[in-house]
C-alpha cells in the first residue's frame, strides 16, 4: 500500500501497444467513485488498462449511494423509445447474473382510483407490453386486480380504489454495488484513492497530461500523469470540468435533488405507487429490512458534499403516500437520505440525448482537449452498459480500432460467483441467522472470508450494531478490504448505525475498531464516532414523530452524559484528526489548544495503490 503523497511506482504496461502514453503513470484516470466511475474503472482494468480512480468523499457517497435502489427496466420509456426499455431490462438481467446476491425482488402495486377507471384498460395494455421485456430480467408478468383483491394483498390501502396492477422490479444496494466494482478493479490492479479529490486536470497543447490531487484527510497532494481522464462525477460533473479549465457548461447536468424517508421495518408487502399533490409519481417500497418512501426531484443549487433532507420535503412525501397508505403517518421513521441526480441538461444542448438516460461528452470535440471525457446521467440499472460504452470509446481512441470487448456482463462481481447458504453459514460460525442472512446479502460468497476471520479470532463474532445487525469481523473486513476509513464509511457499506437507535450503541465501538484497523490514536476514534452521531442526527430530526422525538431526546441526554456534545469548532477539525496529520491540523486551526492537545500519528490515509 502506498500513501498518496509518494510518487506512484511505474507499473509496466500490460498492453503491447506502443504509444507515447506508455510513459505515463497510468493509462486512465477516473474521477468519481459512484457506479459510473467504479464501473468504468473495473471495465477498463479488465481490458488491460492501468487505471487510477479518485473519489473525493467515499465510494457511493453521491447519487449512487442515495438512490431509490432499484434497477428497473425503464417502463417510463416504453412508449417513447422502447429501445431504452429493452436495453435497460437486458442490462438489469446482466447485473443480476454478475451480482445475484445483491438483488432482491420488489413487486409493485399500482392502485387505480375510481376516478381513473376509464384508463384502466390502457394501463393494462401498457403493462402487457412491458411484460414482453420482463423475461430479460427474470421478472414476472403483470397481473390485473380488482379493488377487493388489491386490499386483500395490501390491507393498508385506503381510498376509492377501482382496481390495480402489479409489476415486477428488482432492488439493489447501490453502495454495495459501487464497492463491489471498486474492489474488483482494485484486485485486478487498479489503484484507488478514496478520500482524495482531484484538484486540477492538466492538459498541454490540447492533450491531457496529468491530474493533480489532494488527500483531504492528510492534506498531502500529488500528481499522476495520464493520457486520458474520465469525469464520472455525477452532479459534480460541471465542477470537475472546470478543474480542467473548461467551461462548466460543457459537462452540464441538471442537478435534481431527491430525498427518501426510511421506516424502521417493512410496512407493506408490495411497493405501492402513489401520487403527490402536484401529480408526481412516488412510492413506498419494502427495501432490504426497512421501508422507504421516495422521492422528490427539485433543482438543487446547494453544496453537493452536504445534501440533507428538510422537514418540508419529508412532509411532501408523507402527505403524498398517506393518500393511499395512511399508516405511514403513525409509522416510525428512522432516518432520511438525500442525493442529487445528474440529469441530462434540458435546455437545447443535448436534445438528441434527451430520450436517453446517459451521454458521453468528448471534450476533444467540444473543447479541443483530447483524452478528456465526461459521463453524464446514467442509472444504476444501466451503469454497466454505460461503462462499457465509455471504455469502448476509450479503446477505439487509443488504438484507432475497437479493442478487446467488455467482459463485465460475464465476469461475476466479488461474491457473486456462487451462492452461499446463509443458514448453514450461521450454524458453521455460531452466529445469529439474521446476522448471517444480512452478511451473505452484502458480501455473497465473500462472506466466507469474514467467516474465516471469526474462525481465527472468536472475539470478532461479537455484534457491533444490533439493529442491522453487523458483526465485528465485517467491520474489520470493510476497513481492510473495502476502503472504509471512518464510521460513516462503514455505515455506507454495512448499514451499521442506521437503525432505530441511530448508532448510539455502536458508533463508539465501531470508531474504536476503525481507528485500530487504520493505526490511529483512540481520540481519533472518539471524534469520528461523535461526528457520525451528530451527522446522522441531522438526517433524522427533519422527520420526527412522537416516538422518534423521545428516542432523540434520550440520545442527546446519553451523548451529553457519556461524551459531551461536541461543538461545531471541535467537529470541524475532526476530519483532519481522523486523517492523522498533526501538522496540517495545526495549520488549519491556527495551532489552537484543541488541536495541540492531541497527538495524532503521522500516517497517510489508505489508498489501495
Amino acid at each position: 500500500m502506498t500513501s498518496p503523497g509518494e510518487p506512484v511506482p511505474r507499473v509496466s504496461g500490460r498492453l503491447a501497444s506502443a504509444s507515447a502514453a506508455e510513459t505515463c503513470d497510468v493509462d486512465l484516470v477516473v474521477i468519481g467513485g459512484g457506479v459510473n466511475g467504479t464501473g468504468v474503472a473495473r471495465d477498463a482494468t479488465l481490458r488491460g488498462l492501468r487505471v487510477a480512480l479518485f473519489e473525493r468523499n467515499d465510494l457511493a457517497f453521491g447519487a449512487s449511494g442515495n438512490s431509490s435502489g432499484m434497477i428497473h427496466g425503464g417502463p417510463r420509456y416504453l412508449s417513447a423509445d422502447p429501445e431504452v426499455t429493452y436495453t435497460s431490462c437486458k442490462d438489469s438481467g446482466h447485473i443480476q447474473s454478475i451480482a445475484p446476491h445483491l438483488l432482491f425482488r420488489i413487486p409493485f402495486l399500482l392502485p387505480v382510483p375510481q376516478a381513473k377507471r376509464r384508463i384502466f384498460p390502457l394501463m393494462d395494455a401498457f403493462f402487457e407490453a412491458y411484460d414482453r421485456y420482463q423475461p430479460l430480467k427474470r421478472g414476472k408478468p403483470h397481473a390485473r386486480l380488482t379493488g377487493e383483491e388489491l386490499v386483500q394483498l395490501e390491507p393498508g390501502l385506503r381510498g376509492e380504489l377501482y382496481g390495480g396492477i402489479t409489476f415486477d422490479e428488482w432492488g439493489i444496494d447501490g453502495g454495495r454495488l459501487c464497492v463491489a466494482n471498486a474492489v474488483d478493479a482494485h484486485e485486478e490492479g487498479a489503484r484507488l484513492f478514496v478520500g482524495s479529490t482531484v484538484e486540477a486536470i492538466e492538459h498541454e497543447g490540447g492533450v491531457v497530461r496529468a491530474v493533480r490531487y489532494r488527500d483531504r484527510g492528510t492534506g498531502v497532494g500529488g500528481r499522476i500523469t495520464t493520457p486520458r481522464v474520465v469525469n464520472a462525477t455525477g452532479a459534480w460533473a460541471p465542477l470537475t470540468a472546470s478543474l480542467g479549465q473548461l467551461p462548466p457548461v460543457h459537462a452540464r447536468v441538471r442537478p435534481g435533488k431527491g430525498i427518501h424517508v426510511v421506516f424502521d421495518r417493512r410496512l407493506s408487502n408490495y411497493a405501492i405507487m402513489s401520487e403527490t399533490i402536484d401529480g408526481r409519481t412516488i412510492f413506498i417500497e419494502p427495501w432490504q429490512n426497512v421501508s422507504v418512501i421516495g422521492t422528490t426531484d427539485d433543482d438543487y443549487y446547494g453544496d453537493l458534499d452536504d445534501v440533507v433532507a428538510t422537514s418540508e420535503e419529508v412532509r411532501y412525501l408523507v402527505e403524498g403516500v398517506a393518500r393511499v397508505f395512511p399508516a405511514v403517518r403513525e409509522a416510525r421513521i428512522i432516518g432520511t437520505f438525500a442525493g442529487v441526480r445528474p440529469t441530462l441538461y434540458e435546455y437545447g444542448k443535448l436534445e438528441d440525448a434527451l430520450s436517453r438516460e446517459h451521454a458521453i461528452v468528448e471534450h476533444a470535440a467540444t473543447d479541443g482537449v483530447t483524452g478528456l471525457y465526461s459521463m453524464l446521467g446514467g442509472k444504476l440499472a444501466s451503469y454497466r452498459l454505460f461503462a462499457e460504452e465509455m471504455v469502448d470509446l476509450l479503446m477505439r481512441d487509443r488504438l484507432g480500432r475497437p479493442g478487446a470487448p467488455s467482459t463485465t456482463h460475464l465476469r461475476a462481481l466479488p461474491g457473486g460467483d456462487r451462492e452461499l447458504d446463509a443458514l448453514r453459514f450461521a450454524r458453521d460460525h455460531g452466529i445469529d441467522a439474521i446476522a448471517a442472512r444480512r452478511l451473505v446479502y452484502r458480501h455473497g460468497a465473500r462472506a466466507e472470508r469474514i467467516g474465516e476471520r471469526m474462525k481465527r479470532r472468536a472475539s470478532e463474532a461479537r455484534t457491533v450494531c444490533v439493529c442491522e445487525p453487523v458483526l465485528e469481523a465485517e467491520v474489520r473486513h470493510v476497513v481492510e478490504h473495502e476502503f472504509a476509513r471512518t464510521v460513516d464509511d462503514v455505515a455506507r457499506r454495512t448499514r451499521l448505525g442506521l437503525g432505530a437507535c441511530g448508532g448510539m450503541r455502536c458508533a463508539a465501538r465501531c470508531g474504536a475498531i476503525v481507528a485500530e484497523g487504520r493505526g490511529h490514536a483512540p481520540e481519533v476514534a472518539a471524534m469520528d464516532s461523535l461526528r457520525f452521531l451528530t451527522q446522522k442526527a441531522r438526517t433524522r430530526v427533519c422527520a420526527l414523530g412522537p416516538i422518534e422525538a423521545r428516542q432523540e431526546a434520550i440520545a442527546i441526554a446519553s451523548l451529553r452524559s457519556q461524551a459531551g456534545i461536541p461543538t461545531r469548532s471541535r467537529l470541524a477539525v475532526v476530519g483532519e484528526w481522523a486523517a492523522g496529520n498533526t501538522a496540517v491540523v495545526n495549520a488549519a486551526v491556527g495551532n489552537s489548544a484543541a488541536a495541540a492537545s492531541v497527538s495524532v500519528d503521522e500516517r497517510g490515509a489508505q489508498d489501495g495503490g
Partner: protein, 420 residues
C-alpha cells in the same frame, strides 16, 4: 367509583417525584405517587450532576484549573443520603471521575455506589479491565480509549485489558446487561465473582483497581462487597441507556417509599382537573383520586412526560385537523408549554416545526427537545398545580437539579396549602 382523597398527588416517580414525596412526607403531608412508565432517571447511567458536567469541564479547561465539587443544598444532600444509592463528592474537593463507554473519564458531582471513582486512585494507578465476552464490553478498545483520555494521562493511569473468566455460562454473553447485573444480586454469585477477581489480581501481580461493566447488581450495588473481598477498589463503568444503574434507582426508590410509607401506583395518569377546592386525577384504569394539590414530576421529552405530537399525526388520509402546539404533556392539565424562554402560542404551521433547525443542540445551546417544558414560576404552575424536575422548561437536565426542584416544589405546596 368514589374518589379517594389525599393532601398531595405526585405524578412521576423519577428523581424529582421521589424527592418531592420525601420532602412532603418530611413536612407532614399525606402523599400518593403515580408512575406508569420509564423515566430519564431510570434510563441514565449512574452519574449524577448539579450542572451539566461538560460545561464545568470546558470552563475548567479554559481556566486551566481542576474542577472542584460545588455545594449541594443541605436538604438535597439529605435526600440523596435517604435514597442511599449515590455517593456525592466532598464539597470543595476534586470531583469524582467515572468511566464512560465512550472512552472518557468524566467528572461527576456524584455517582451510583457501584461505579468506580477514578479520582480516588493514586497517581500512576494500574487499572485492570478484564475481557468479558459481551457486546458492550470490548475491553481492549475501552482500555485503549481510556488510556488516551486526558485525565488518565495527567494522572499517569495505566489501563490494561486481560483475559478473565467472569461469567458462568455461555448464554451470559448474550443476555441484556441489566439481566447480568441481576444475577449478581445473589450473594453466592458475588462471592464467586470476587474469587475470580482475586485470582486475576494474583495472576497480574499489580492491580490498583478493577473496572468492570455495568453488571454489579440490579437491586443493590455489589461493588463495595467486592472491593472488600478483593482488597482493591472494584467498580463499574457507566452503562448504556437503560442498564443496571436505572434498576438500582428503582430498587432504592422502593426501599425509600417503604420506609416513608408512600405507595407507588404503577399507573399512567390521564388528566388532572382543577377547580377552586381540589384537584381530581383520572388514571388509565379509570380510577380517580382527589387531592388538595398536584405536583407534575413527569419528566421531559426523554421520559414521555412531554410528548412531541405535531398536528400532522393522526390525520389519516386528510390534512391535519388544525393548528396547535406541537408538544403536549402526557396528561391533560391546564399548563402552558415553553422552550428557550418563549411560550408556544398560536403556531404558524399546520404540520409541525422544522426540527432540523432546532432539535439537536448546537454548541452551547440546548436543542428544543432538551428544553421544552411547562412554563412556571418557581415550582408554581397555577393554583394547586406545581411542577418539579425535567418537566420544567429550560431547567438543566440533571439529577441533582431535579431532586432540588422537588424540594422546592414541596415547600411551595406547603405554603399554598397553609395559605388557605
Amino acid at each position: 367509583m368514589a374518589a379517594e382523597s389525599i393532601d398531595v398527588a405526585v405524578v412521576g416517580a423519577g428523581a424529582a417525584g421521589v424527592a418531592t414525596c420525601w420532602a412532603l412526607v418530611e413536612r407532614g403531608l399525606s402523599v400518593r405517587v403515580f408512575d406508569g412508565g420509564l423515566g430519564a432517571t431510570s434510563l441514565a447511567g449512574g452519574a449524577i450532576d448539579d450542572r451539566p458536567w461538560e460545561e464545568l469541564a470546558r470552563a475548567a479547561t479554559t481556566l486551566r484549573v481542576e474542577p472542584l465539587a460545588r455545594p449541594v443544598g443541605a436538604e438535597a444532600a439529605r435526600f440523596v443520603a435517604a435514597l442511599g444509592l449515590h455517593r456525592l463528592g466532598d464539597e470543595g474537593a476534586s470531583m469524582p471521575r467515572v468511566a464512560t463507554p465512550m472512552g472518557r473519564f468524566r467528572i461527576a458531582r456524584g455517582h451510583d455506589r457501584a461505579l468506580l471513582d477514578l479520582s480516588r486512585l493514586a497517581d500512576g494507578a494500574r487499572v485492570l479491565v478484564p475481557r468479558v465476552p459481551r457486546a458492550e464490553w470490548d475491553a481492549d478498545a475501552l482500555a485503549r480509549a481510556w488510556s488516551a483520555d486526558d485525565y488518565a494521562r495527567a494522572r499517569g493511569f495505566e489501563l490494561v485489558s486481560m483475559d478473565a473468566e467472569l461469567t458462568m455460562h455461555l448464554g451470559e454473553a448474550r443476555i441484556a446487561s441489566a439481566d447480568l447485573a441481576a444475577l449478581h444480586d445473589d450473594d453466592a454469585r458475588v462471592r464467586w465473582l470476587g474469587a475470580r477477581l482475586l485470582e486475576l489480581v494474583a495472576r497480574e501481580g499489580r492491580a490498583d483497581a478493577l473496572l468492570l461493566g455495568p453488571w454489579l447488581g440490579a437491586t443493590h450495588a455489589r461493588a463495595e462487597a467486592l472491593t472488600q473481598q478483593v482488597g482493591v477498589p472494584v467498580g463499574e463503568a457507566m452503562g448504556e441507556v437503560g442498564g443496571a444503574a436505572g434498576l438500582r434507582f428503582e430498587a432504592a426508590r422502593s426501599r425509600l417509599f417503604e420506609r416513608i410509607a408512600v405507595s407507588l401506583e404503577r399507573e399512567q395518569v390521564h388528566a388532572a382537573h382543577l377547580d377552586d377546592a381540589k384537584v381530581e386525577l383520572t388514571c388509565e384504569s379509570g380510577a380517580t383520586l382527589r387531592a388538595r394539590a398536584v405536583v407534575l414530576a413527569i419528566g421531559g421529552v426523554a421520559s414521555g412526560g412531554i410528548v412531541f405530537d405535531p398536528p400532522e399525526r393522526h390525520a389519516g388520509r386528510d390534512a391535519p385537523s388544525g393548528v396547535r402546539a406541537p408538544f403536549r404533556t402526557s396528561l391533560a392539565a391546564p399548563v402552558t408549554l415553553a422552550a428557550a424562554g418563549r411560550v408556544f402560542d398560536v403556531g404558524s404551521s399546520l404540520f409541525g416545526p422544522a426540527l432540523e433547525r432546532e432539535a439537536w443542540p448546537t454548541d452551547a445551546d440546548p436543542g428544543l427537545l432538551e428544553c421544552v417544558g411547562v412554563a412556571c414560576r418557581g415550582a408554581r404552575v397555577g393554583a394547586r398545580l406545581f411542577a418539579a424536575g425535567d418537566v420544567i422548561a429550560d431547567r438543566p437536565r440533571t439529577f441533582l437539579e431535579a431532586a432540588s426542584s422537588g424540594i422546592v416544589a414541596a415547600d411551595a405546596v406547603l405554603g399554598a396549602l397553609r395559605g388557605r
